[in-house]
Amino acid sequence: MRAWEIFWTIWLVISTAAFALITVVVTVKGFGDVRRMLRGISAGGSDEKP
């Protein structure tokens, strides 16, 4: 049981840290993505990128 406690505690820490970090990165860089998306839709160009 102790092994499971350690296992889940480690994964909980990893998942919480990853959740928080990805939120920060996505928040900061996501605004740029939204602008590019709207520009791309307005331009009505090819929807395939390399």
Binding site: W4, W11, S15, I22, T23, G30, R36, D47, K49
Partner: protein, 500 residues
């Protein structure tokens, strides 16, 4: 009412902001591709946000918290499986990469590419039925959360949930995927902040040592090991792995995000990073459920083996324990942010699911049936109108089913079984179609029908355990595909590529 003025200001500002932004996005909708897949212009970061927001709702927090309350840390296995499977799908591009290359807009559309228009219609019907039944319980569960945390009188539940549904419907119907993606992005930020806040408050109040001791004293080894927990075991774990491969690749709302990305490479990266988020998506609300067990789990042991949660001396349902705990923990301002975050979670899921199932109804059932009846093609504008009408229709069903269907047992299991109705057959048929040259139309029909029967009959009519039902559905679907394909005539692809 638990709400202070500041809480109302935060919530109303969020709701108004979402509506305005969602409506403004309408001007970017020029054709069907914009409406359904945002013109396939989704970049990595907004792709991650919209995929995560689509699959993280108040319903998610509620059912995971309930699972955590009843099964302790052993429940974490479901979160790990979902995250790891998504990362594998993302890294390998299993199904998702090929789907994106084909420029699809719906999952059943693939069935016309590989198999036949008739199978597309059958699959479309099963996808729509399973998906709408699945979504049908969201409103009630979400409403329970809202009334408990905010303290609104439950007699206003129907009105409150109807108002929220109408708000989502407005911007989804008007702006389609463009509105949904932009609002999803903002909702993702807000719900993530709320998630972290609740976690800090809950763990700080319950105390880590109390948490581990309570799980051990109430559940023993079963609270830690999924192999020793009677709810789980090997059959459950294997079924969950199959289910998550199927959900990552063939769940319409997830797949629509893949279809909307600007390239197959972006689709893979979005799936991979969202898989990492999914670890926390499951574990954190389960942890809240465990904290609720510590703080409120003081009543007599119920029929499911877990202590009845008690609030102000009154027993409540295990699914209500987490929101009841939150209502006790949070002060003014923070409560407003958390409720706004949960509303954000609700709206992101509901808007995406409304768009997902209505697009299947319109693109894979109504329009192909029209085509089979010999009617001519419709303009993009007309197709968008049909999508919008289907959207309203789905909303009306969800409103009535959600508020009146008596959900028994674990919410998580109801949701996974209704999903399995079409996922079992769809996943098997897609895998066969992409990776087995021998798969043909007969096999596809057999897979879809056997998978659906394998989920519906055992669970709804024979009362079988959900684990066995899930296993049975996938097994029957696979057997149907193989036997049907071997016995049926070889069939060339119906279309060389999807409709652009």
């Amino acid at each position: 009412m638990n709400f202070a003025v500041i809480d109302w200001v935060i919530v109303i500002a969020y709701l108004a902001g979402s509506l305005v932004i969602g409506i403004l996005a309408k001007k970017f909708v020029g054709n069907l591709s914009h409406f359904l897949v945002a013109g396939r212009e989704l970049g990595l970061h907004v792709g991650i946000a919209t995929l995560a927001a689509t699959e993280i709702g108040t319903i998610t927090f509620m059912y995971f918290a309930e699972l955590g309350y009843k099964a302790g840390f052993a429940a974490f296995c479901t979160a790990m499986i979902s995250g790891i499977v998504m990362i594998i799908v993302g890294r390998t591009g299993f199904i998702v990469s090929r789907f994106r290359e084909l420029k699809l807009m719906t999952v059943p559309e693939y069935f016309e590419v590989k198999y036949s228009q008739g199978l597309r219609i059958v699959t479309g019907i099963l996808v729509a039925v399973g998906g709408i039944l699945n979504m049908g319980v969201f409103l009630k569960i979400e409403g329970q959360f809202l009334t408990i945390v905010s303290g609104i009188d439950s007699k206003y539940l129907v009105a409150v949930m109807t108002a929220i549904l109408i708000l989502e419907l407005v911007y989804t119907v008007l702006g389609g995927m463009v509105s949904v993606v932009i609002t999803d992005f903002l909702q993702y930020v807000l719900l993530s902040v709320a998630t972290i806040l609740v976690t800090i408050y809950a763990v700080n109040t319950a105390g880590w040592e109390n948490i581990t001791n309570k799980v051990t004293s109430v559940m023993g080894a079963g609270g830690w090991s999924p192999l020793e927990n009677p709810r789980f075991g090997w059959t459950f774990l294997v079924w969950q792995v199959l289910l998550w491969f199927a959900m990552s690749s063939c769940w319409q709302t997830t797949a629509m995000r893949m279809f909307s990305t600007n390239s197959p490479t972006t689709a893979k990266r979005v799936m991979t990073w969202t898989g990492v988020i999914f670890l926390g998506r499951g574990m954190l609300p389960m942890l809240w459920g465990i904290c609720a067990l510590v703080i409120l789990g003081t009543g007599p042991v119920g029929s499911d083996g877990s202590p009845t949660p008690m609030l102000n001396g009154q027993p409540i349902e295990p699914i209500e324990a987490m929101p009841a705990m939150i209502s006790q923990l949070l002060g003014p301002g923070v409560r407003g942010i958390v409720v706004a975050g949960m509303l954000a979670a609700t709206m992101s899921v509901n808007s995406s699911y409304l768009l997902g199932w209505s697009s299947v109804l319109s693109q894979d059932v109504i329009l192909p049936i029209r085509s089979k009846m010999g009617k001519g093609d419709l303009s993009s504008k007309a197709q968008i109108l049909i999508n919008r009408v289907a959207n309203v229709g789905v909303s009306l069903f969800v409103m009535f089913w959600g508020l009146y269907y008596p959900l028994a047992g674990s919410t998580y299991l109801y949701l996974t079984i209704t999903g399995t109705i079409f996922l079992s057959g769809a996943f098997v048929s897609v895998v066969g179609g992409l990776y087995w040259a021998r798969a043909n139309v007969t096999g596809g029909y057999a897979a879809m029908l056997a998978g659906a029967a394998g989920a519906i009959i055992p669970f709804f009519f024979l009362g079988w355990d959900a684990n066995i039902t899930g296993f049975c559905a996938f097994g029957l679907a696979a057997a149907g595909l193989v036997l049907g394909s071997l016995l049926g005539k070889p069939s060339p692809p119906a279309l060389s590529r999807a409709t652009p």
